[in-house]
Every structure is written in C-alpha cells, then in structure tokens.
C-alpha cells in the first residue's frame, strides 16, 4: 500500500515533467503541422543552459528558466525564417529531415563543446516527507515549475492576441491570414515557444537527473508517446498524456521488470496511432 502510494506520488511528479517536455512538440505539431525531430536536442540545450548558468553565475535552475527560454525562443524564430519556412508545405520528408538536421547540428556542436560526459547540477536541498514518502525537494519545485509554465502557456494561448492568433493559425492558417494575421510570424513564434518550452523542460530535468548532450533523445521518444496518448496537436493533451505515462511507468514497474516498461509504452504508441489517433480524450 505504501509502495503504491509512493509510486503514485513519484509517478505524478515525474509525469508532470514528462508532460511539460512534450508540450512543445505538440504545440509545434498543432500549429506548423510538422513533427519536430530537433525536440530532444533543444531539451538537451536547456539542460546545458541550466548547467552553465549554475556553474558560472550560480543561478539555480528555477531561475535560469527565464534566460534559457528567451534565448531559445529567439533561436527558434531565427531557425524558422532561415530554414523551416523554406520547406513549409513540402512533403513530410522535407520537414522531418530539416528538423533532424537541426538536431544533428546541435548535438554535433554539443558533443564538440560539452563532450558526452555526464553532468549534473547538485542542489544540496534535503528531501521532503509527504505522508510516508520521501521526495527530493528539487522534484517538488520541478513540479511547481511545470505547473506554472503550463498555466502561463494557457494564459498566453487564451488571453493574448498573439496566443489567439496561434490557435487560429493552427485551426485554419488561410482564414487567419484573411483576419490580418501574419502567419509566418505566428508560425515562427510558435516554433520558438515550442522549443523554448522544450528547453524549460530540459532545465527542469537537469535539476533532478544527470544528463549528457544525448539525453534529450530519451525525452523526445517519450514525448512522441505522450503526444499520441494526449492527442496529437493539443498542447494541454500533452500534459494529460505525460501524467498518464508517469503513472503507468511508476505503477506498472512495481509489478513487472522496469526494463520491459518502454516496450509497453511503444506498443501503446503504435496501437494508439492505429486505433485512436486522436488521443485518449480526443474526438474524431
């Protein structure tokens, strides 16, 4: 019973972080209609952003989300106009490859500058007791950070002009143009925000787990599963999907070998795509 409680608590904590990691992927898919294969690379960039801000300026990760987000947002907007814009509207292969090549460049440069040695950010906070379960304080802060980011994203998408334009473009790009929306600016912004949130997720993950420049790949694959669970294209579906995945991972692995859990996850991914591609909560 106690073990189950621990599994549920840790599962939800982690699930929220997973969800945050996937939000950006879904936002970009929803608005730009492309699958961003550089997602993991930007998560990794966020990790290193947090690491170096901690090393050289002593910023704890929960503060460094802001500069990291801003920098990645700008990079995203530039990348859109430099590369992605040129292949918008071409077949999937082009957009898959363009984002994959961005990923290669980031991971390649990252390998060169940071090497693939594991890093970690050690924040000497004690663990907190919740019922009978000890949770590292960093994970609890990570949870709050994830909730805050999600809430801010909600405010942005539903309460600001640009946010509403983002949603409008995702539903009908041409009609949005008729309303006077400069859709390229909106697409660029969405891409920037998408990878910016990925980088925030990277910062959060870096504060609880060790990482290398290659670590983003794991979370990218998880994000695929999460997005498909929560419904492709719906950023808040990703949060739901993340929570489900976190719970499933945590509770399942009490009873079955931990190693087999990824197998179940990916089978779930394929089955969802085949049977219910609109996600668990989605309508057809």
């Amino acid at each position: 019973m106690e073990a189950l409680l621990a599994a549920i608590i840790t599962g939800l904590l982690l699930g929220m972080v997973y969800g945050l990691a996937a939000v950006g992927l879904n936002l970009i898919f929803g608005v730009l209609k492309i699958i961003n294969l550089s997602h993991g690379a930007f998560i990794a960039l966020g990790m290193f952003g947090a690491y170096y801000l901690f090393q050289y300026f002593g910023l704890i990760p929960f503060v460094s989300v802001i500069p990291v987000f801003v920098v990645i947002l700008i990079i995203g907007i530039l990348l859109y106009f430099i590369a992605i814009r040129r292949v918008m509207g071409r077949q999937e292969l082009s957009t898959l490859l363009i984002t994959y090549s961005i990923s290669l460049i980031i991971v390649g440069l990252g390998t060169f500058f940071f090497t693939t040695n594991p890093r970690s950010i050690d924040i000497p906070w004690e663990s907190i007791r919740i019922f009978s379960v000890y949770i590292p304080a960093t994970r609890i802060v990570a949870l709050f950070l994830a909730i805050i980011c999600t809430f801010l994203l909600y405010l942005f998408l539903y309460k600001t002009w640009i946010g509403k334009a983002v949603r409008a473009v995702s539903m009908n790009r041409v009609a949005a143009e008729y309303m006077g929306v400069n859709s390229h600016v909106i697409l660029a912004t969405s891409f920037g925000i998408g990878i910016g949130i990925a980088a925030i997720a990277g910062v959060v993950i870096a504060s609880i787990f060790p990482f290398t420049i290659l670590s983003g790949g794991v979370y990218e694959l998880k994000s695929f599963v999460i997005c498909v669970l929560g419904g492709l294209g719906n950023p808040f579906g990703a949060i739901a999907g993340g929570l489900i995945l976190g719970l499933v991972e945590s509770v399942l692995s009490l009873k079955i070998p931990v190693g087999i859990v990824p197998f179940i996850e990916f089978i779930l991914l394929v089955l969802m795509l085949l049977v219910k591609p609109e996600g668990i909560f989605g309508r057809r």
């Binding site: 041409v174 009609a175 309303m179 929306v181």
Partner: protein, 237 residues
C-alpha cells in the same frame, strides 16, 4: 465617385492551371459590386487573387490608391480588405466570441472592437445567445452569420462576400441578403459573388458577368438583370 478597388488585366490560377484571363474590374466606394457566373467560372479564384492567397501571374491590383499586387494577404486585411470566404472558414475550436475577436485582429479594428461587437450582436442576436459556444458546433446558418459578423469586426473598407448563401435554406438566404442590404445602407463598400443571380443583381449597384475566367459582360445591376443573355444563362428564363 471614387474607386476603392481597381483590378487591371489579371491573369491568375494554381500551379500550372491558369484560371483567370485578363480580368479587369472596379469597385466603387460605398457601392455594392456583384460578380455573377456559373460554377467554375473563376469567381472564388478572383476573390482569392484580390486577397492575395492566390498570386496574380500578371496584371495589377490597386486598393485605396496603393498598388497591392505584391502585398501578402495579412497586409491587405490590415488595409481594410475583408474577405468572408466561401464555406465560412471559421475557427471551429474557438468560441463565437473568440471568432469575433479574431475578426478584429488588426490594429485598426482592435480599437473599435467594443462598438463593433455591439453592432454585430444587434445584427445577429442569435450569436449573442451562443457567445461561449464553440463555432464548430453551430448550425450552418449561425456559422454564416458568424462569418459575416467576423468580417464586420474587421472594420472593412471593402467587404468581399464569397457565396454567402451557399448551402443555406431559402429562408436563411433571405435573412443574409437582408443583412447585406442593411450594410449597404450603412454605406459599406462590398463586392458580392453569388450564384443567386436574381437577388444579388437586385442589390447590386454595378455588376460583372464572369465566364470561363473572363469578364464577358458588365453594367449596372438593373441593366444586367434586364439583359437577355443573363436571363437566358443564369435565370433560366
């Protein structure tokens, strides 16, 4: 008389298929200009070319004294060219209110959003009742009202209607024409593309007949309505 829109010798189409051939037309300020033509004559392509979502291959488009031929669509909307597209093209997962707000997206329209919103709700009280409903769940007539309302929200200098009564019951169609007539009385400049030749030419100040991508006839609304060709071709008389 000032001309708000001048289209000169436009060739236009998609990829390798040319649809419009040397089309020229004018729309006058405060007047209703109607373009009639059968299915596939290129009416929608013409409006899309004016909006810039289809690029003109050659020719020139002047709006409000500016050459807008090379402008992107959103800039034309900012300048006050408001298009109410065929098939509504609403934002289905947004509420009625949000759709209307999107209509007022341009800086010019944002400042007048409040009064425009009230105006739209007096025109379409039914939209007010459904203010928080998702646009995708509205009935066809309500959706068309929302599309028109959304257009009004944009503070149009010139409104382009693309088949506003398509797929609507006769009763609803009359309602929509009533609204257009009201807008006409407000001195809003309009270009109206319609299959319903009889109704539209009655409202029209001036009209064009488009056939196979070319303007084949033009004239005052009542002149066209009286012309034998039009009668034969479109009114089945």
């Amino acid at each position: 008389m000032s001309e708000i829109l001048v289209v000169e010798n436009i060739d236009s189409g998609y990829k390798d298929v040319q649809i419009l051939w040397d089309v020229s037309l004018k729309a006058e300020e405060g007047k209703v200009t109607v373009i009639v033509g059968s299915n596939g004559s290129g009416k929608t392509t013409l409006l899309r070319t004016i909006m810039g979502s289809v690029r003109a291959k050659s020719g020139r488009i002047m709006f409000d004294g500016n050459d807008i031929t090379k402008w992107p669509t959103y800039k034309r909307a900012e300048a006050g060219l408001i298009y109410i597209p065929e098939g509504r093209q609403l934002f289905p997962d947004m509420t009625v209110l949000e759709n209307l707000e999107m209509g007022a997206y341009t800086k010019r329209a944002r400042v007048k959003m409040k009064e425009n919103l009230e105006y739209v709700f007096t025109l379409f009280p039914r939209l007010k009742e459904r203010i928080n409903q998702k646009a995708g769940t509205l009935s066809g007539g309500e959706q068309q009202m929302l599309a028109v309302g959304r257009g009004i929200m944009g503070c149009p200098r010139l409104m382009l209607f693309d088949e506003p009564t398509l797929g609507l019951s006769p009763k609803l169609s009359i309602e929509i024409f009533g609204i257009i007539d009201k807008l006409k009385k407000e001195k809003i400049s309009m270009i109206l593309v319609e299959q319903n030749v009889y109704f539209s030419l009655q409202i029209a100040d001036y009209g064009y007949v488009l056939s196979e991508g070319r303007i084949v006839k033009e004239g005052k609304g009542e002149e066209l309505l009286a012309s034998e060709d039009v009668k034969k071709a479109y009114l089945g008389v």
